[in-house]
């Protein structure tokens, strides 16, 4: 009971407050821009030389305002925004009118999550194990590994991605150049489709893994080097506790704590996509449509993705906060 009162309730209040503020920002920010999407739209039509009579213009503008959720005062719009939000409705996409924003997001989010969740988790686990072992033992092999990572990590990500693309898709055409699945293939759960998805995802995943493992490996290695000189590690060794147990239960276990925080924060940002990856590989994820929306001034779509991002980040932080004491008993619920 005291857990609910002292810890859960304040955390939840904080969570909802932050989410509320984030969503409010996501709503107001586009509206403070010195652009009116309705007028932009009309100007676009008129630029094509379409003549719109003034009485019809007024009507069209009203219709567009209503469709975009832009009629009434700012506060009325804000009310409508919340009402729509609870029904999962962000309005129609302005660039791909009349496709609802939510539909675009739902279409692209599985790609992003599939790619980023897998690579993030995998890179995290591998980096912890590799960094843990490399930080604990110091011999020739770990020095070599360290050297390779040192060279890899400073390479800018887009260069790495382009390099992989050129080498593995152009010079040695092992993997397809772009897309999420073969052209013209229906997305289903057939064997061929899955093979195609894996093949298309391999290169983006590879680049994300290399970069993700490299920097997390380095931070894990440094943390481990700090932990291994802690007195409890020395004492366990002095007491004859087996080496394997010391590495996993004493060194890596304690060095993992900052890495858990890192993972939690990373998982939250997954939902806004990996812009550069999806650009380079033309991967149909959230990053790709976000880029598209920004270029085409698709306010509803930007807002939709922002909202989902905000909720994802705050939720993952809440989750982290609640789960962390399991890993570190010194951080107690207050």
């Amino acid at each position: 009971m005291s857990f609910v009162k002292k810890c859960l309730v304040p955390r939840l209040i904080q969570y909802f407050l932050v989410t509320f503020l984030g969503l409010t920002t996501a709503f107001f920010l586009p509206r403070f821009l010195p652009l009116d999407p309705v007028e932009q739209r009309i100007a676009q039509y008129q630029a094509f030389g379409v003549y719109i009579p003034p009485e019809q213009l007024e009507e069209i503008m009203n219709t567009l305002r209503q469709l975009y959720g832009l009629q009434g005062t700012l506060w009325e719009q804000y009310g409508i925004f919340w009402r729509r939000l609870f029904m999962g409705d962000f309005g129609p996409s302005l660039a791909r009118y009349p496709t609802p924003v939510i539909q675009l997001i739902v279409q692209s989010i599985p790609w992003t999550i599939g790619l980023l969740l897998l690579t993030t988790l995998f890179a995290w686990v591998v980096a912890i194990l590799m960094g843990g072992v490399a930080g604990y033992f110091r011999n020739r092999w770990t020095e070599i590994l360290d050297g390779i990572v040192m060279v890899m990590r400073p390479i800018p990500y887009y260069i790495m991605a382009l390099l992989c693309l050129i080498v593995f898709a152009y010079i040695f055409p092992i993997f397809p150049l772009s897309g999420g699945v073969g052209i013209g293939r229906e997305v289903s759960f057939g064997f061929d489709t899955i093979v195609s998805i894996v093949k298309h995802g391999a290169l983006p995943a590879l680049t994300l893994l290399v970069v993700g493992i490299a920097w997390q490996f380095q931070s894990m290695k440094l943390i481990v080097q700090g932990v291994r000189s802690e007195s409890y590690v020395w004492y366990a060794r002095a007491g004859g506790v087996r080496e394997r147990k010391i590495i996993f239960h004493y060194v890596i276990r304690n060095a993992m704590l900052p890495m858990i925080t890192q993972l939690g924060l990373q998982l939250g940002t997954i939902f806004s996509g990996a812009l550069v990856t999806e650009m380079v590989f033309a991967y149909p994820g959230v990053g790709w449509i976000l880029y598209d929306a920004v270029m085409k001034g698709d306010y509803n779509l930007i807002m939709g993705i922002m909202c989902i991002s905000v909720v994802a980040v705050t939720t993952s932080i809440l989750f982290l906060d609640l789960v962390y004491p399991i890993f570190d008993p010194r951080v107690r619920y207050r």
Binding site: E230, S231, Y232, Y235, A236, A238, G239, G240, V241, R242, K245, H249, Y250, R253, N254, L257, F327, D328, P329, R330
Partner: protein, 352 residues
């Protein structure tokens, strides 16, 4: 008198390399010691005199930057002398905790901060007691804690939930879990208030009483030596300068350095301000030629500046490394002084 540990001409130096420059810190310099069984053996000396390093080498825990340059360390196991420095690490590991164990400094956190005390106990037990299931090991731990007078529920808490004194006592329980023949204690009372100190010392005494083993206690606190040790060695600048029964050392200290140490002890009713030793301890990087104490010694003469005195028996059981004492030339205040010291000692015994 049987012995459990023997050191022969041990030289253990720290070698530090910085920017191509090699520095050698002579932490344990030519130490020869015999530690008898069933005693509480004290090692005293000021900070940086090499007493903790000596303890580490006794524990045969020699890791860079510490290197053993010469000498031997013998453990007496089942009436055989074992040269520990020539043992393989697996064999050394077998001796740890069953034959010899280590109690670290009070300020040192020896428990994994993210695990319950229980799991540390089990980890230490599991690798020494084969073929037993966890429940058995756990009940073994509970039983042991009860025996040394600690509540068994400390097993279920995390290290940060224990007070400093309690943590130190649990560490002692952990070190004595397998009833080792020798327990090395490195300043077990440092960073504790006097009440917790007393509890820790009481526990050590109880353990000693129960197991009938040898405890090697390192501390700079002469009061603690007076309270608990039966025999002691005084170290100065990496060397043992005096060695003998604690009572004899407190009653008639032979080495000038020991004299100063004992003079510095306060006793009840005394109003006179205490005098420090003139000068400062030598650097272990380049100890002075000859007796390391000679720059601060009022009895020093030409030989002291040239040769290092060896530790020799002066009166039965009581050894000293001092030329002027060995020659009989250094004369202290005499009988008056001696009475004062023994009174001082009784004060400490009573308070303990």
């Amino acid at each position: 008198m049987s012995r459990v540990l023997r050191l022969e001409n041990l030289k253990a130096f720290y070698v530090l390399e910085a920017w191509g420059e090699k520095k050698v810190i002579q932490a344990v310099n030519n130490v020869t010691l015999e530690i008898p069984s069933n005693e509480v053996y004290g090692i005293a000396g000021e900070s940086g005199c090499g007493k903790s390093t000596l303890l580490r080498t006794l524990f045969a825990d020699i890791e860079p930057p510490l290197y053993v340059f010469s000498g031997r360390i013998h453990y007496r196991v089942d009436d055989h002398d074992i040269d520990v420095l020539s043992l393989k690490s697996a064999e050394k590991r077998k001796l740890r905790w069953t034959y010899i164990s280590y109690i670290p400094q009070g300020s040192m956190s020896v428990f994994n901060p993210v695990k319950r005390i229980k799991s540390t106990f089990l980890d230490f037990l599991e690798d020494h007691v084969r073929g037993k299931v966890r429940e058995n090991l756990l009940s073994l731990s509970v039983e042991h804690l009860r025996r040394v007078g600690l509540p068994p529920n400390v097993l279920d808490v995390y290290p940060h939930q224990l007070s400093g004194g309690m943590r130190q006592r649990v560490a002692i329980a952990l070190a004595t879990l397998l009833r080792p023949t020798v327990i090395l204690a490195d300043e077990p009372t440092t960073a504790l208030d006097v009440v917790a100190q007393r509890a820790v010392l009481e526990l050590l005494r109880e353990v000693h009483h129960e197991l009938g083993n040898t405890i090697v206690l390192v501390t700079h606190d002469m009061g603690i030596h007076a309270q608990i040790t039966t025999r002691m060695a005084i170290m100065y600048a990496g060397r043992v300068v005096e060695e003998g029964p604690t009572k004899a050392i407190f009653a008639s200290p032979l080495h000038p350095y020991t004299q100063y140490l004992i003079q510095a002890l306060p006793h009840i009713g005394e109003k006179k301000p205490k005098e420090g030793i003139p000068g400062s301890p030598p650097s272990l990087l380049s100890p002075p030629l000859g007796c390391p104490f000679h720059p601060r010694c009022v009895f020093a003469f030409s030989l002291c500046r040239e040769k290092v005195p060896s530790l020799e028996e002066f009166v039965p059981q009581h050894k000293v490394a001092c030329f002027s004492r060995q020659r009989g030339e250094c004369v202290f205040e005499g009988e008056k002084m001696r009475r004062y010291e023994s009174k001082n000692m009784d004060d400490y015994r009573e308070r303990g």
